[in-house]
Symmetry: C2
Subunit: 139 residues, 2 copies
DNA sequence: TAAAAACTATAAAGTTACTATAAGGTCAAG
DNA sequence: CTTGACCTTATAGTAACTTTATAGTTTTTA
């Protein structure tokens, strides 16, 4: 199978496959006489796993760690659980900070009906009054 | 005021200030005889506004647009409201996709107690069974 | 007074997970 | 024999910074 077919199978771009290869998430494929990459079922499964990990929001390095576990299948799987637990915490903390943001934003938003001029806009005034404890930037 | 003092006042790094300057979010400061940047109250206010915008999750380009409105204060402020409305939509759609992720992840997670070996880990099996319609990547 | 610490400057590279562009080689069809 | 679809590599761009390197300046301290 060539790179275009593999990409179509998984609904991703060929560059993405090359990118994963460079990042070590996909084993080096054989090359045909003309230099084209040749993929097997094994590559397909490996790449599908990467796509699935991305679909549940795992980072590429988290995905890589899971692959390592898959490659050493006789160790206890508690490490897998830990990784997923930590990832769930990532997601949850993102959710709560976004929810906080949304509250603050809707409160700011409702103060203005959009009928005034910018100079008197209560939204801009409220933004000016925000006391960012320290410029948070991780959202 | 020098760059370090300004950074301390707002709890950010000096490089971040230079970065904002390069991005056009902060007017060019005067320079003292030795080339050091010299900031005034005006710069402080401008930078504080940027930090506040970042604190409510606005991107730098959204922040820039708000600055443009501030600089032309005699137009109607409905554009401000629209920008904030759109930004709230950004936040809300991020929240819902993260909540979807969290559901999927907790369902995957609860299937394993971490007592098995990797080869039999139901988490890895469930990840393998995910049918990513197309590898989503915007989360 | 001289060395050390602290601050400033610029420029370039690293981060994440790709996407886009450029410039070119290969292959089948018409 | 050229067009189009496919493949190759390398490089740059995205967001919002952070890190590193290299160097000049000021302040503190021994
Ligand atoms: Zn994670
Ligand atoms: Zn308004
Ligand atoms: Zn936004
Ligand atoms: Zn398990």
């Amino acid at each position: 199978m060539r790179i275009g077919q593999l990409a179509d199978l998984l609904g991703i771009q060929t560059q993405t496959i090359r990118f994963y290869e460079k990042k070590g998430l996909l084993p080096l494929p054989a090359r045909s006489y003309n230099g084209y990459r040749v993929y097997t079922e094994k590559h397909y499964k490996r790449l599908k796993f990467v796509c699935s990990c991305r679909a549940i929001g795992l980072s590429l390095s988290e995905t890589r760690r899971l692959q390592d576990y898959q490659d050493n299948p006789h160790q206890p799987c508690s490490a897998v659980n830990t990784l997923i637990d930590e990832h769930i915490m990532h997601i949850r903390s993102q959710i709560t900070s976004l929810q906080d943001l949304e509250k603050q934003l809707t409160s700011i938003r409702t103060s203005c009906t959009g009928q005034s001029k910018v100079i008197a806009c209560t939204i801009l005034n409220k933004i000016d009054e925000i006391e960012s404890v320290s410029c948070n930037r991780d959202v």
